[in-house]
Symmetry: none
Subunit: 218 residues, 4 copies
DNA sequence: AATGAATGAGAATTCATTCAT
DNA sequence: GATGAATGAATTCTCATTCAT
């Protein structure tokens, strides 16, 4: 039988959770709509139907709140990548699935994509506090690790030749996709009337061929 | 023999140029160091040892000044790319040279690289005035066009198979490099102790092989 | 017996009122002394011993604050006019009383008079925001309406002949007084050593005679 | 036969006149269009195709320039009034003509009217330099003097009873017209759908009757 | 006389964060 | 915990006027 203070603690904890998610939801909406700079704590507090001061009980400040949204973004991405990772099929199929999942994420959660891609890059020099950066970097690492694991599995299955460093191969797989998304984001595809999907398909094919067939001289 | 007013005009023009470059130099330093948002016109004026108001005689405002720095960056890049484009050797050599020039620019002018890559991208929602954007977009196009021309030449020389749209091929060449630079910028290479140069070399080789050998199904 | 939060709410409300009036008092002093354009928010904040930012919690901005002072002026005027309107005596007596009240207001609250007379008139092209103008226009209308009501009453009592539009008659009553005040304001009375009070008395007499006796041809 | 330096002086004088009028024309246009506050010396210089600095050779500054435009306005008004003053007909006809001329000026030169009416009134507290004010006051006096002279003539002709001070009578004639224009300017006529011309006609009739018939007690 | 570059004070407003209640 | 009032630093851009040339 629970004691009274346990129950109280429990309720408090629930309330805390509720607050956290309420604030997060509000912050997400506001940041997505207006961008980091144009969002004010007041906007967020209003959207959350809370007082501005209270947010500081739950998050250190605007930066931290922004960091939390970044984190959300990473979790959303990781969920998609992990799902793709355990797809049925060969290692190559799973690698393709992971690539497609990334593209899917890019297309369907553009705000999250932007946020996690540019979290503190660019000409703004908006810098997240150090410990927040670290958490995000760790999450970022986990995303890459999905690809690394697959390549490792591919080597184990002898579907991929074992030459070269594992991380290096990871980067080489990731780079063209990232680059393509980056190019698309800048609008060049539209400018030149290119078919994004078709290019991506070709890119994937090229990539897989390269990975499989490659034998390097290093 | 020059007339008096010619000399005066000449001197005035010189002084104007001197001012322009003085302001630009100051702005460059400040923007590079602090980023767009954290730079103030006052900072720039101070660094240039000029009154803040005077800057407005030469540039419309902070945006325009920033735009001028972006433009500088593009010109620097274009100079490098154009030099590489006319390298001695086969089309493939020249393509490689252009890629290397881009990497060189990335490594040696990281601030310019950032500025032109993220000039109004991402989560910031700070947008340059339209007419400035247009100029920059045009410069950006000129950079891409270097690659396009080389691929076109490669096809003419039958070094590259003619399948696929020209711009599409351009993007496929560009994407992996861009992606790799992007990855490097985020620091993953250092994190995993990878050798940037080596990876790039492999990347280039892969790319060239892929371009040459490819025959697509579309 | 009051509950705790009632008391708290009450106190907060009092404090809010106190702030509002503190700001208003400061603004009034500053605006009266320096005029709208030469007054700065900083002046007002300083006079109110408040931080500049706080004023924006209570008023939208400088315009709104100025609008509030205009409103005060109208309320002061309306109070005087309404009091005069219900004077003992005939309609003509009351009309005279209203006119005198206006003159009294002009003489005793010259700053308010200026502010409401020139609230956005003339060569300045500084215009108050629309919704503020509307409120002021409504108040302005209420002042005129006092005269209109009296003329209406005069017609009902057959003290004033019913020819002519009611508003037209209102204007004809108002114009000479307004004109006289305007002339006085420009200093001509002093220039020519005239007796303002005497002239006004004559003006009123003339006006009343005209109103009573008139029979127009239109 | 003119000496050389006389000719030079003459030419210089002509050029000076030309400059003055060029500047004045530009200033008039700009002030009329944008109002005093929103006009900049640069605007005026540009419109005059002159350098800003040069204006200061001809006028002390912005205020003085504005004062010169006011003066122009007075001269325009005085011209109209003087023309009306010497109309054929009785004193009363001429008085009416002068009133109508004033209204005509109000309607056809609204910018001048505003400028001379509000030259340094209102909530802005923009104050003209003293010596400029004095000139303008003198011109203003000349306008009033036209009415005064007519009333004087009327008394001489026994068309107007001689009771009361001459200036006082002038004011009493002027006030209703001024007031009516002022009311019209504020837009009340339109608000209430009144016929400005008709009201003015009635006003004039009333005024003339009052002047003629009056016998005061003072 | 003429130029126009140079000055520099100035002003409204915003907003993350704090803290008394 | 919760409130929201209070803070106050910070920033871009304008413009009358001056003055070296």
């Amino acid at each position: 039988m629970k004691k009274l203070n346990e129950r109280i603690a429990e309720r408090k904890d629930n309330e805390r959770q509720e607050r956290l998610s309420r604030i997060l939801t509000a912050a997400r909406k506001v940041f997505f709509q207006k961008g980091y700079l144009n969002s004010t704590m007041r906007d967020i507090a209003l959207k959350a139907a809370l007082s501005p001061g209270l947010i500081y009980h739950y998050y250190e400040g605007k930066d931290a709140l922004y960091g939390a949204i970044c984190e959300e973004g990473f979790h959303a991405l990781l969920t998609e990548l992990h799902r793709a990772e355990i797809t049925e099929g060969s290692v190559m199929d799973r690698l393709t699935a992971v690539g497609k999942a990334y593209v899917h994420f890019y297309e369907n959660s553009p705000e999250y994509f932007d946020i996690i891609s540019f979290r503190d890059l660019g000409y703004k020099k908006v810098e997240l506090p150090h410990h927040i950066r670290q958490r995000l970097d760790k999450l970022s690492y986990q995303a890459l690790d999905v690809i690394r694991r697959l390549i490792e599995a591919g080597i184990a299955e002898k579907a991929i030749p074992p030459d070269g460093d594992l991380w290096e191969m990871t980067m080489m797989v990731w780079a063209p996709i990232e680059g393509m998304l980056f190019i698309h984001k800048r609008g060049y595809m539209d400018t030149f009337g290119l078919d994004f999907e078709k290019i991506l398909k070709n890119e994937f094919r090229l990539l897989l061929t390269a990975i499989k067939g490659e034998s390097r001289a290093d």
